[in-house]
Symmetry: C2
Subunit: 161 residues, 2 copies
Protein backbone atom coordinates (compact mmCIF):
# COMPACT_ATOMS: atom_id res chain seq x y z
CA UNK A 1 0.00 0.00 0.00
CA UNK A 2 2.88 2.31 0.84
CA UNK A 3 4.24 1.92 -2.66
CA UNK A 4 0.91 2.91 -4.21
CA UNK A 5 0.79 6.00 -2.06
CA UNK A 6 4.33 6.93 -3.03
CA UNK A 7 3.57 6.55 -6.72
CA UNK A 8 0.36 8.56 -6.45
CA UNK A 9 2.07 11.20 -4.35
CA UNK A 10 4.82 11.41 -6.94
CA UNK A 11 2.32 12.03 -9.71
CA UNK A 12 0.56 14.59 -7.57
CA UNK A 13 3.81 16.46 -6.86
CA UNK A 14 4.72 16.45 -10.56
CA UNK A 15 1.27 17.68 -11.48
CA UNK A 16 1.21 20.38 -8.82
CA UNK A 17 4.07 22.22 -10.50
CA UNK A 18 2.88 22.32 -14.04
CA UNK A 19 3.99 24.83 -16.61
CA UNK A 20 4.13 24.86 -20.37
CA UNK A 21 7.46 23.42 -21.35
CA UNK A 22 9.98 25.05 -23.63
CA UNK A 23 11.82 23.26 -26.42
CA UNK A 24 15.05 22.87 -24.46
CA UNK A 25 13.29 20.99 -21.67
CA UNK A 26 11.06 18.86 -23.88
CA UNK A 27 11.13 15.11 -23.53
CA UNK A 28 9.34 13.37 -26.41
CA UNK A 29 6.06 11.51 -26.02
CA UNK A 30 6.80 7.78 -25.60
CA UNK A 31 5.32 6.56 -28.88
CA UNK A 32 4.10 2.96 -28.82
CA UNK A 33 4.43 2.46 -25.08
CA UNK A 34 1.29 0.29 -24.94
CA UNK A 35 3.33 -2.38 -26.75
CA UNK A 36 6.06 -2.33 -24.10
CA UNK A 37 6.11 -4.57 -21.04
CA UNK A 38 3.39 -3.73 -18.52
CA UNK A 39 5.26 -4.08 -15.24
CA UNK A 40 2.46 -3.30 -12.81
CA UNK A 41 -1.21 -2.38 -12.63
CA UNK A 42 -3.60 -1.26 -9.92
CA UNK A 43 -6.78 0.76 -9.48
CA UNK A 44 -7.50 3.52 -6.99
CA UNK A 45 -10.61 5.48 -6.05
CA UNK A 46 -13.07 3.14 -7.76
CA UNK A 47 -15.54 3.78 -4.92
CA UNK A 48 -15.34 7.58 -5.17
CA UNK A 49 -18.50 9.12 -6.62
CA UNK A 50 -16.45 12.13 -7.62
CA UNK A 51 -13.07 10.76 -8.71
CA UNK A 52 -9.98 12.67 -7.66
CA UNK A 53 -7.24 13.63 -10.11
CA UNK A 54 -5.18 10.53 -9.33
CA UNK A 55 -8.04 8.02 -9.27
CA UNK A 56 -8.28 5.36 -11.93
CA UNK A 57 -6.35 2.60 -13.68
CA UNK A 58 -2.62 2.97 -13.06
CA UNK A 59 -0.25 1.07 -15.35
CA UNK A 60 3.53 1.18 -15.59
CA UNK A 61 5.26 0.29 -18.87
CA UNK A 62 8.95 -0.30 -19.54
CA UNK A 63 10.79 -0.27 -22.87
CA UNK A 64 13.48 -2.87 -23.65
CA UNK A 65 16.29 -0.80 -22.16
CA UNK A 66 14.32 -0.23 -18.99
CA UNK A 67 13.83 -4.01 -18.73
CA UNK A 68 17.64 -4.29 -18.59
CA UNK A 69 17.51 -1.93 -15.62
CA UNK A 70 15.02 -4.10 -13.74
CA UNK A 71 17.31 -7.08 -14.25
CA UNK A 72 20.66 -5.47 -13.49
CA UNK A 73 19.73 -2.68 -11.06
CA UNK A 74 21.22 -0.08 -13.42
CA UNK A 75 19.06 1.55 -16.09
CA UNK A 76 21.09 2.33 -19.25
CA UNK A 77 20.66 5.52 -21.29
CA UNK A 78 17.55 5.28 -23.42
CA UNK A 79 15.56 3.51 -20.72
CA UNK A 80 12.00 4.84 -20.47
CA UNK A 81 9.43 4.10 -17.78
CA UNK A 82 5.86 5.24 -18.36
CA UNK A 83 3.20 5.77 -15.71
CA UNK A 84 -0.17 5.78 -17.46
CA UNK A 85 -3.38 6.82 -15.69
CA UNK A 86 -6.80 6.20 -17.19
CA UNK A 87 -10.30 6.54 -15.77
CA UNK A 88 -11.80 3.42 -14.18
CA UNK A 89 -15.19 2.68 -15.74
CA UNK A 90 -17.50 0.48 -13.68
CA UNK A 91 -20.29 -1.39 -15.47
CA UNK A 92 -22.34 -4.15 -13.87
CA UNK A 93 -19.60 -5.34 -11.57
CA UNK A 94 -16.81 -4.98 -14.12
CA UNK A 95 -14.11 -2.29 -14.01
CA UNK A 96 -12.32 -1.47 -17.24
CA UNK A 97 -9.98 1.35 -18.23
CA UNK A 98 -11.58 4.33 -19.95
CA UNK A 99 -10.08 7.55 -21.30
CA UNK A 100 -6.55 8.62 -20.52
CA UNK A 101 -6.05 11.20 -17.78
CA UNK A 102 -2.32 11.70 -18.06
CA UNK A 103 0.95 9.97 -18.88
CA UNK A 104 4.09 10.58 -16.82
CA UNK A 105 7.45 9.28 -17.96
CA UNK A 106 11.08 9.01 -16.93
CA UNK A 107 13.82 9.01 -19.58
CA UNK A 108 17.39 7.99 -18.72
CA UNK A 109 20.02 10.26 -20.27
CA UNK A 110 23.02 10.46 -17.96
CA UNK A 111 24.64 13.47 -19.61
CA UNK A 112 21.52 15.56 -20.13
CA UNK A 113 20.02 14.98 -16.68
CA UNK A 114 23.17 14.67 -14.59
CA UNK A 115 21.65 16.74 -11.75
CA UNK A 116 18.70 14.37 -11.28
CA UNK A 117 20.30 10.95 -11.17
CA UNK A 118 20.41 10.75 -14.97
CA UNK A 119 16.62 10.84 -15.24
CA UNK A 120 14.42 13.39 -16.98
CA UNK A 121 10.72 13.62 -16.15
CA UNK A 122 7.75 14.65 -18.26
CA UNK A 123 3.96 14.63 -18.25
CA UNK A 124 1.39 14.69 -21.06
CA UNK A 125 -2.24 15.25 -20.13
CA UNK A 126 -5.35 13.84 -21.78
CA UNK A 127 -4.64 12.57 -25.27
CA UNK A 128 -1.88 15.07 -25.98
CA UNK A 129 1.30 13.67 -27.54
CA UNK A 130 2.94 17.00 -28.18
CA UNK A 131 2.65 19.25 -25.18
CA UNK A 132 4.84 18.15 -22.31
CA UNK A 133 3.84 20.16 -19.27
CA UNK A 134 6.85 20.17 -16.95
CA UNK A 135 9.51 22.83 -17.19
CA UNK A 136 13.13 21.93 -16.45
CA UNK A 137 12.97 23.43 -12.99
CA UNK A 138 9.75 21.69 -12.19
CA UNK A 139 10.96 18.32 -13.48
CA UNK A 140 13.26 18.43 -10.47
CA UNK A 141 10.26 18.22 -8.18
CA UNK A 142 9.63 14.74 -9.55
CA UNK A 143 13.18 13.77 -8.73
CA UNK A 144 12.84 14.95 -5.13
CA UNK A 145 10.70 11.87 -4.43
CA UNK A 146 12.79 9.49 -6.57
CA UNK A 147 16.00 10.63 -4.87
CA UNK A 148 15.20 8.35 -1.95
CA UNK A 149 15.44 5.26 -4.15
CA UNK A 150 19.14 5.50 -5.05
CA UNK A 151 19.63 1.79 -4.36
CA UNK A 152 17.33 0.95 -7.29
CA UNK A 153 18.73 3.68 -9.59
CA UNK A 154 15.91 6.05 -8.47
CA UNK A 155 13.11 3.76 -9.68
CA UNK A 156 10.13 2.84 -7.50
CA UNK A 157 8.62 0.02 -9.53
CA UNK A 158 9.93 -3.53 -9.78
CA UNK A 159 9.32 -6.26 -12.30
CA UNK A 160 8.63 -9.80 -11.22
CA UNK A 161 8.15 -12.47 -13.85
CA UNK B 1 -19.93 -5.63 -21.47
CA UNK B 2 -20.93 -8.34 -23.94
CA UNK B 3 -17.29 -8.93 -24.79
CA UNK B 4 -16.38 -9.43 -21.15
CA UNK B 5 -19.15 -11.96 -20.76
CA UNK B 6 -18.03 -13.83 -23.85
CA UNK B 7 -14.43 -14.00 -22.61
CA UNK B 8 -15.48 -15.16 -19.17
CA UNK B 9 -17.93 -17.65 -20.62
CA UNK B 10 -15.18 -18.96 -22.86
CA UNK B 11 -12.89 -19.52 -19.89
CA UNK B 12 -15.71 -21.18 -18.00
CA UNK B 13 -16.46 -23.55 -20.89
CA UNK B 14 -12.79 -24.44 -21.22
CA UNK B 15 -12.52 -25.04 -17.50
CA UNK B 16 -15.69 -27.09 -17.30
CA UNK B 17 -14.17 -29.79 -19.45
CA UNK B 18 -10.89 -30.33 -17.72
CA UNK B 19 -8.83 -33.48 -17.90
CA UNK B 20 -5.17 -34.25 -17.48
CA UNK B 21 -3.54 -33.80 -20.84
CA UNK B 22 -1.41 -36.37 -22.60
CA UNK B 23 1.89 -35.62 -24.29
CA UNK B 24 0.43 -35.56 -27.80
CA UNK B 25 -2.03 -32.83 -26.89
CA UNK B 26 0.34 -30.74 -24.78
CA UNK B 27 0.84 -27.10 -25.63
CA UNK B 28 3.82 -25.60 -23.78
CA UNK B 29 3.48 -23.00 -21.03
CA UNK B 30 3.98 -19.52 -22.54
CA UNK B 31 7.27 -18.66 -20.82
CA UNK B 32 7.87 -14.95 -20.36
CA UNK B 33 4.39 -13.81 -21.37
CA UNK B 34 4.40 -11.01 -18.78
CA UNK B 35 6.97 -9.27 -20.99
CA UNK B 36 4.70 -9.40 -24.04
CA UNK B 37 2.23 -6.69 -24.99
CA UNK B 38 -0.69 -6.39 -22.59
CA UNK B 39 -3.58 -5.85 -24.99
CA UNK B 40 -6.44 -5.50 -22.51
CA UNK B 41 -7.22 -5.53 -18.82
CA UNK B 42 -10.37 -5.55 -16.71
CA UNK B 43 -11.60 -6.70 -13.31
CA UNK B 44 -14.70 -8.69 -12.46
CA UNK B 45 -16.39 -9.70 -9.22
CA UNK B 46 -14.51 -7.24 -7.02
CA UNK B 47 -17.69 -6.77 -4.97
CA UNK B 48 -18.27 -10.49 -4.39
CA UNK B 49 -17.59 -11.52 -0.81
CA UNK B 50 -17.04 -15.05 -2.04
CA UNK B 51 -15.29 -14.69 -5.41
CA UNK B 52 -16.38 -17.01 -8.19
CA UNK B 53 -13.92 -19.00 -10.27
CA UNK B 54 -13.75 -16.36 -13.00
CA UNK B 55 -13.57 -13.32 -10.72
CA UNK B 56 -10.42 -11.24 -10.58
CA UNK B 57 -7.89 -9.36 -12.71
CA UNK B 58 -8.15 -10.41 -16.35
CA UNK B 59 -5.24 -9.57 -18.65
CA UNK B 60 -4.62 -10.55 -22.24
CA UNK B 61 -1.04 -10.71 -23.56
CA UNK B 62 0.16 -11.12 -27.15
CA UNK B 63 3.57 -12.19 -28.41
CA UNK B 64 5.21 -10.46 -31.41
CA UNK B 65 3.61 -12.77 -33.94
CA UNK B 66 0.19 -12.26 -32.42
CA UNK B 67 0.73 -8.49 -32.72
CA UNK B 68 1.07 -9.05 -36.49
CA UNK B 69 -2.33 -10.69 -36.35
CA UNK B 70 -3.96 -7.71 -34.68
CA UNK B 71 -2.53 -5.46 -37.39
CA UNK B 72 -3.27 -7.61 -40.45
CA UNK B 73 -6.33 -9.59 -39.38
CA UNK B 74 -4.46 -12.86 -39.95
CA UNK B 75 -2.48 -14.45 -37.13
CA UNK B 76 0.64 -16.27 -38.44
CA UNK B 77 1.87 -19.61 -37.10
CA UNK B 78 3.63 -19.11 -33.78
CA UNK B 79 1.18 -16.43 -32.61
CA UNK B 80 0.24 -16.88 -28.95
CA UNK B 81 -2.49 -15.08 -27.03
CA UNK B 82 -2.57 -15.50 -23.27
CA UNK B 83 -5.56 -14.90 -21.02
CA UNK B 84 -4.24 -14.49 -17.48
CA UNK B 85 -6.56 -14.45 -14.45
CA UNK B 86 -5.34 -13.37 -11.01
CA UNK B 87 -7.19 -12.66 -7.79
CA UNK B 88 -8.23 -9.04 -7.18
CA UNK B 89 -6.92 -7.89 -3.80
CA UNK B 90 -8.70 -4.85 -2.31
CA UNK B 91 -6.84 -2.80 0.30
CA UNK B 92 -7.99 0.61 1.49
CA UNK B 93 -9.67 1.58 -1.75
CA UNK B 94 -6.97 0.12 -3.99
CA UNK B 95 -7.38 -3.02 -6.10
CA UNK B 96 -4.23 -4.83 -7.16
CA UNK B 97 -3.62 -8.25 -8.72
CA UNK B 98 -2.79 -11.08 -6.33
CA UNK B 99 -2.04 -14.73 -6.93
CA UNK B 100 -2.64 -16.39 -10.26
CA UNK B 101 -5.81 -18.42 -10.66
CA UNK B 102 -5.22 -19.78 -14.16
CA UNK B 103 -3.68 -19.01 -17.52
CA UNK B 104 -5.45 -19.91 -20.76
CA UNK B 105 -3.68 -19.63 -24.09
CA UNK B 106 -4.21 -19.96 -27.82
CA UNK B 107 -1.35 -21.10 -30.06
CA UNK B 108 -1.56 -20.77 -33.84
CA UNK B 109 -0.27 -23.81 -35.71
CA UNK B 110 -2.22 -24.22 -38.92
CA UNK B 111 -1.11 -27.77 -39.65
CA UNK B 112 -1.43 -29.18 -36.14
CA UNK B 113 -4.79 -27.61 -35.35
CA UNK B 114 -6.41 -27.60 -38.78
CA UNK B 115 -9.78 -28.69 -37.37
CA UNK B 116 -10.04 -25.70 -35.03
CA UNK B 117 -9.21 -22.76 -37.26
CA UNK B 118 -5.47 -23.33 -36.81
CA UNK B 119 -5.64 -22.63 -33.10
CA UNK B 120 -4.78 -24.92 -30.19
CA UNK B 121 -6.04 -24.16 -26.69
CA UNK B 122 -4.55 -24.88 -23.29
CA UNK B 123 -4.99 -24.03 -19.62
CA UNK B 124 -2.56 -24.05 -16.69
CA UNK B 125 -3.99 -23.60 -13.20
CA UNK B 126 -2.44 -21.86 -10.21
CA UNK B 127 1.31 -21.51 -10.61
CA UNK B 128 1.75 -24.65 -12.67
CA UNK B 129 3.93 -24.31 -15.76
CA UNK B 130 3.99 -27.98 -16.62
CA UNK B 131 0.55 -29.48 -16.38
CA UNK B 132 -1.74 -28.37 -19.16
CA UNK B 133 -5.24 -29.44 -18.28
CA UNK B 134 -7.14 -29.68 -21.55
CA UNK B 135 -7.20 -32.86 -23.57
CA UNK B 136 -7.32 -32.65 -27.36
CA UNK B 137 -11.03 -33.41 -27.45
CA UNK B 138 -11.77 -30.85 -24.80
CA UNK B 139 -9.64 -28.16 -26.43
CA UNK B 140 -12.34 -28.19 -29.10
CA UNK B 141 -14.84 -26.88 -26.59
CA UNK B 142 -12.80 -23.69 -26.45
CA UNK B 143 -13.00 -23.39 -30.20
CA UNK B 144 -16.77 -23.75 -30.20
CA UNK B 145 -17.00 -20.19 -28.84
CA UNK B 146 -14.18 -18.80 -30.98
CA UNK B 147 -15.72 -20.27 -34.15
CA UNK B 148 -18.12 -17.33 -34.27
CA UNK B 149 -15.26 -14.87 -34.77
CA UNK B 150 -14.05 -16.13 -38.15
CA UNK B 151 -13.82 -12.54 -39.46
CA UNK B 152 -11.04 -11.81 -36.94
CA UNK B 153 -9.27 -15.16 -37.39
CA UNK B 154 -11.21 -16.58 -34.39
CA UNK B 155 -9.85 -14.00 -31.95
CA UNK B 156 -12.09 -12.04 -29.57
CA UNK B 157 -9.66 -9.40 -28.35
CA UNK B 158 -8.47 -6.35 -30.26
CA UNK B 159 -5.49 -4.10 -29.82
CA UNK B 160 -5.81 -0.34 -29.99
CA UNK B 161 -2.75 1.82 -29.60
Amino acid sequence: MKTYLVVILLAAVCSAFVAVNNAADQIPYPEGYHKWTNTRTFITGYENKEPKKGDGFHDTYANDRAMIGYQTGHFPDGAILVFDVRTAVTTEGTIAPGTRKHVDLMLKDSARFKDTGGWGFEEFTGDSRTEGRLSGERQKNCFNCHAGKKQTDFVFSQFKE
